[in-house]
């Protein structure tokens, strides 16, 4: 295997550093001042300094050990990453057109989409998926739920014109963003499917985009048919996603799979690689060397016949005579080396337990008896509040919301996203209906919970008038349902039968109070019940042991450096060698200096741009590292040099952060298109520019262009003066570093924040539509029609 590599190759840089220091600085050579001996004794050859070579070797080997040579022998992909996806479907009138499926002309667009989405839901089992539809307004069908199956039922009930025939595309983005607000996933997606342009949205595009961008939401857009997909393209481009066009069923299927693979590519890089560590081998060698060094050090202690104070006086470098301290340090380093050899590791026994989630259907009674003001403000609202509290407290519930009176309505399928659930709950428009049919709740719950092991229903009700629930008890037993009741009436006499029923089914009956105790006991009951029955598997995810050997080794290296460098006089630089080495450094890696000259080049390019020497400017800009700003300036220069095609190409490759700059790019693009006589494209770009920022110049040009297109003759506005220089070009070319003058931006941002704040208030105030799915009930309880 050729997977041999250093974990931290930059550590190896310290080797030349050490060599450099030893090379450049003067070595402190210890000499002893002993009088009269030199005259008598002959001088002998300098003894070979083994120590020096040993020290080099020691540093070299230890640094190699610290750089941690490894070999990869196994890689395991971990698919821990999950997506939070909100599917936003267009249900406007145009979706009822046929022809998307070439094999079956009876299928409308929506039918095809629904089929594809169904397939999609079945493939994404790990991800949390929510569903929003839009027509005149946008409606929440389901908040984020990890059980994709739960979405299938409401999906099948969606028809064209469910929320009106027009297209509130942008509103739906805002709605989806609201649902994603509390998402903790690192990739939040909105997959927006539409066949038309936005027609009735209240929220401006800019605001919606800002909200999405702020939450890091990627909006993938799918346009159906040859509609005007500019808006969709813009949306996806601005949020860093992609937009697609689907003209038939096959396209659509492929698009859905590409979206998920795209996300998978960008995020599923988490790979656990098993490494073999080889640091022990150089470390063993360095331990041997260190032993030898210590041995040599002890041998040189012969000079100990001199007392300490005198040794200080008769040596040239008294600081080097502290043998003892140095020896202690060397022993400490040896100790550190041995600790490293021992291979300290930490095992993070991080068991990723799949949450023991309890499926629970909360059935809210909306019969007219709930309007009684026994609890504040009335039974129903009190019940709703209680439910909200319950959702807040609960930790491992997967909850669905059901409204029932004579019939049952599904407000939200099973979902763990308690935030979204309470969002749905608080935005329900509750109309009282006559009659309370217990069977409707039970059957609805069964409908939702079908296939789940545990089936729990929480009835938030004031009870019914019927006194015996034989049929119901039988039904409960048959389906394995457990009935929990949160009683929101104070007439306990009415509900003895209900209490019996709940106890019979293995559930609990709790009287609602103003405090939270009732909810606590309820949750406890549910959890207890659950533990008795269910044994969910814990999924343990054993993590690769974390190596800790770097730390003692790093400390050892530091100490070694400290000890060894003490032998060099850092004040006395060998200047000749310094210059020589610097010269070498400058000669060999030219790359190191490349970054330094960029500044100068930018200046040069700017100057030649101002001197209208565009060719030179282009040349310099294209030689530099291609950042957004450089590319923008390059495109400007190209524009000036009348190479419009290339300029447009580069303009479109820029993805700036600020809308203002994007608007400028569109504007410049549009101008370039006019020179190329592509008026339609120019018009579109002007429009896009205007959408991002109001600008008189662009407006003027657009008006002139429209006039021109109408009259089909060359208007006066198209004189060279007007289009010679796009508006922002001069500003940008003056300051290639910053495109907008600072003064202007400050004002602009202030204004924008004010606007967005206002919009946020409006958005928050607005109650979203909640899609209620009617569940058909076959049976009915006794006295169901009678209202109590």
């Amino acid at each position: 295997m050729n997977d041999f590599q250093f974990e931290y190759p930059f550590v190896l840089l310290f080797i030349p550093l050490y060599f450099f220091i030893t090379f450049v600085f003067k070595h402190k050579e210890q000499t002893y001042f002993i009088p009269n001996f030199l005259e008598i004794l002959p001088s002998v050859k300098r003894k070979r300094d083994i120590k020096k070579t040993l020290k080099y070797l020691l540093i070299f080997l230890t640094l190699i050990a610290l750089a941690s040579p490894t070999q990869r022998y196994k890689t395991i992909d971990t698919n821990l990453h999950t997506l939070d996806i909100i599917l936003s479907l267009d249900t406007s009138g145009s979706m009822s057109l046929v022809g998307l499926n070439p094999f079956d002309y009876n299928q409308t667009r929506l039918d095809v989409v629904k089929n594809v989405v169904k397939d999609f839901l079945q493939t994404r089992k790990k991800d949390k998926i929510g569903l929003v539809v839009f027509g005149d307004r946008s409606a929440v069908v389901s908040p984020l739920s990890s059980q994709a199956q739960a979405l299938l039922n409401p999906l099948s009930k969606i028809n064209t014109g469910v929320v009106g025939n027009s297209t509130a595309l942008i509103d739906s983005i805002v709605q989806a963003s609201k649902l994603l607000k509390h998402s903790s996933s690192s990739s939040k997606l909105i997959i927006l499917l539409s066949d038309g342009d936005d027609t009735v949205s209240k929220v401006p595009l800019e605001i919606a985009l800002k909200i999405a961008q702020k939450q890091n939401i990627k909006i993938y857009t799918i346009a159906i048919g040859e509609s005007n997909n500019n808006l969709l393209a813009l949306l996806s481009q601005q949020t860093g996603a992609k937009s697609f066009v689907a003209t038939n069923t096959k396209d659509l299927k492929e698009i859905y799979s590409t979206i998920t693979t795209l996300e998978a590519i960008t995020h599923n890089k988490k790979k656990i690689t098993h490494l073999r560590y080889f640091y022990k081998y150089p470390l063993l060698l360095s331990i041997l060397i260190l032993f030898f060094l210590i041995f040599l050090q002890t041998k040189s202690q012969e000079l100990s016949i001199f007392s300490k104070n005198i040794l200080k006086k008769i040596t040239h470098y008294p600081e080097l005579t502290k043998h003892l301290a140095e020896k202690k340090l060397l022993f400490f380093i040896l100790f550190l080396f041995f600790t490293t050899l021992w291979q300290p590791t930490i095992y993070f026994q991080e068991d990723r337990v799949q949450k023991n989630v309890v499926p629970l259907v909360i059935a809210l009674d909306i019969s007219s008896s709930m309007a009684q003001q026994e609890f504040y403000p009335n039974r129903l609202n009190f019940g709703v509040k209680k439910t909200e509290e319950l959702l807040k407290i609960s930790q491992n519930l997967r909850t669905a919301l059901l409204l029932f009176s004579r019939e049952a309505f599904l407000a939200s399928p099973l979902s763990e996203d308690t935030n979204s659930l309470s969002f749905v709950l608080s935005n329900l428009s509750l109309n009282f209906q006559n009659g309370s049919n217990l069977f409707s709740a039970l059957e609805g719950a069964e409908y939702i919970l079908h296939g789940n092991k545990a089936k729990n229903i929480l009835l938030v009700s004031d009870g019914t008038s019927s006194q015996s629930f034989l049929q119901e008890a039988q039904y409960l037993k048959e389906k394995g349902l457990k009935l929990f009741v949160l009683n929101v009436s104070k007439e306990s006499s009415q509900n003895t039968a209900l209490q019996k029923l709940s106890l019979l089914s293995g559930g609990a009956f709790v009287q609602a109070t103003y405090s939270n105790n009732d909810l606590q006991s309820l949750l406890q009951d549910i959890a207890k019940n659950f533990q008795e029955r269910e044994t969910y598997k814990k999924i343990e995810n054993k993590k690769e042991p974390m190596q800790l050997f770097y730390y003692p080794l790093f400390l050892a290296i530091l100490l070694l450096f400290f000890i060894f460098i003490r032998e060099y006089d850092l004040k006395k630089v060998n200047f000749f060698l310094l210059f020589f080495s610097l010269f070498l450094l400058k000669e060999v890696p030219q790359v190191l200096n490349a970054g330094l000259l960029d500044f100068h080049n930018i200046k040069k390019a700017k100057e030649s741009f101002l001197q209208e020497n565009y060719q030179k400017s282009i040349k310099i800009y294209s030689s530099l590292k291609q950042t957004d700003r450089i590319r923008y300036n390059l495109a400007n220069a190209l524009y000036k040099a009348k190479k419009y095609n290339k300029a447009i190409e580069i303009y479109q490759s820029i993805k700036p952060q600020k809308n203002k700059i994007q608007a400028m790019i569109y504007y410049n693009c549009a101008n370039a298109y006019i020179y190329l006589h592509k008026y339609k494209l120019a018009k579109r770009n002007y429009v896009l520019s205007l959408k991002l920022g109001n600008d008189t110049m662009a407006q003027d040009n657009l008006n002139a262009l429209l006039l021109f297109l109408q009259k089909k003759h060359h208007p006066k506005v198209f004189t060279e003066d007007k289009y010679k220089l796009p508006k922002y070009m001069s500003a940008s070319s003056k300051e290639p570093q910053d495109v907008i003058s600072s003064n202007y931006t400050v004002q602009l941002t202030k204004l924008v924040t004010k606007e967005i704040d206002g919009w946020k208030k409006v958005i928050n105030k607005e109650k979203p539509l909640i899609f209620l799915q009617k569940i058909k009930t076959k049976r009915s309880s006794q006295n169901a029609d009678k209202d109590d």
């Binding site: 001042f33 009088p35 030199l38 004794l41 001088s43 000079l303 008769i314």
Partner: protein, 287 residues
């Protein structure tokens, strides 16, 4: 004095304490000199020569022997000491104790005993330039000045100019006095002391370290000569040790011969010895 010195210069204070103890505990002052003069202590009789004091003629002996004899007396008690530490470069060496410290100790010893016996002393510090350290006095303050200066004197790359030293001593010290030269006396080629000995009584105290005369074998060492600044690798082994021993013995023998011929008292003190005892033993014997 010591109290004020102790916190600032502890090693020096220790030296002073040590010397004071030895000065006050032993009768260091019973020293003898060769100087004859108008004292009271009778030394011997000698035949009258022209110019002798007539007053000193011992008439009784003269009558007995029919020749005029005069009594000779020792010089009176009040002596003048001149202490000269020779602080050349090689003084800053030693194995356990620096030679310079021993020299300081000896200087302190001499000057203290001088003050104690109510004698005057003056001192010079000799290097390549000889300078007056303390003028003639009896005060204990001068003891401290001398000791401090000797202790803290920088010794690097200084060689002693004996000619200049002797000249200065000859001119400066007009009265006949006891001269003490304290040093290691390695380079003694220019040591010519006859003229000085006619005027003063001279004592040489040779301070040496045993390592210098017979070094232990330490293997290869990078040595630097403190006086010349030359450096070289030198191997210290048994052979080298013998060579050094021989060389030092040779030069010492030449030096001591010079001294005995000039009638100079001398003593060798090693750094591992107690200088007080040695000096007392020196002072109590006549040369």
């Amino acid at each position: 004095m010591i109290q004020s010195l102790l916190p600032t210069n502890r090693p020096l204070a220790e030296i002073l304490l040590k010397t004071q103890e030895s000065v006050f505990s032993s009768k260091i002052g019973e020293n003898t000199t060769n100087i004859e003069g108008s004292g009271y202590d009778f030394v011997h009789l000698k035949e009258y020569v022209h110019g002798d004091d007539v007053k000193h003629i011992d008439w009784l002996v003269s009558a007995k022997l029919n020749k005029p004899y005069v009594r000779v007396f020792q010089e009176q008690r009040e002596l003048h000491l001149v202490i000269v530490p020779l602080l050349c470069t090689s003084v800053c060496f030693g194995v356990k104790v620096l030679k310079q410290d021993i020299i300081t100790e000896i200087c302190a010893l001499l000057s203290f005993s001088c003050v104690k016996q109510n004698n005057t002393f003056s001192s010079y510090i000799s290097q390549d330039i000889t300078s007056l350290c303390t003028p003639r006095s009896k005060s204990i303050f001068n003891v401290r000045t001398l000791v401090e200066k000797t202790f803290e004197h920088k010794t690097l790359s200084k060689n002693i100019d004996y000619q200049a030293l002797f000249k200065i001593l000859y001119i400066h010290e007009r009265k006949k006095s006891l001269l003490f030269l304290v040093g290691d006396f390695f380079q003694t080629d220019s040591f010519d002391v006859y003229a000085l000995c006619t005027k003063h009584e001279l004592t040489c105290i040779v301070v040496r370290d045993r390592f210098e005369e017979e070094p232990e074998s330490l293997g290869k060492l990078h040595l630097r000569d403190p006086s010349s600044g030359d450096s070289a690798f030198v191997e210290l082994n048994a052979k080298a040790s013998a060579k050094i021993k021989q060389k030092v013995a040779h030069s010492d023998s030449l030096f001591f011969e010079k001294l005995t011929r000039a009638g100079v008292r001398f003593i060798k003190i090693y750094t591992d010895e107690d200088p007080a005892k040695k000096i007392i033993s020196l002072m109590s014997t006549l040369s």
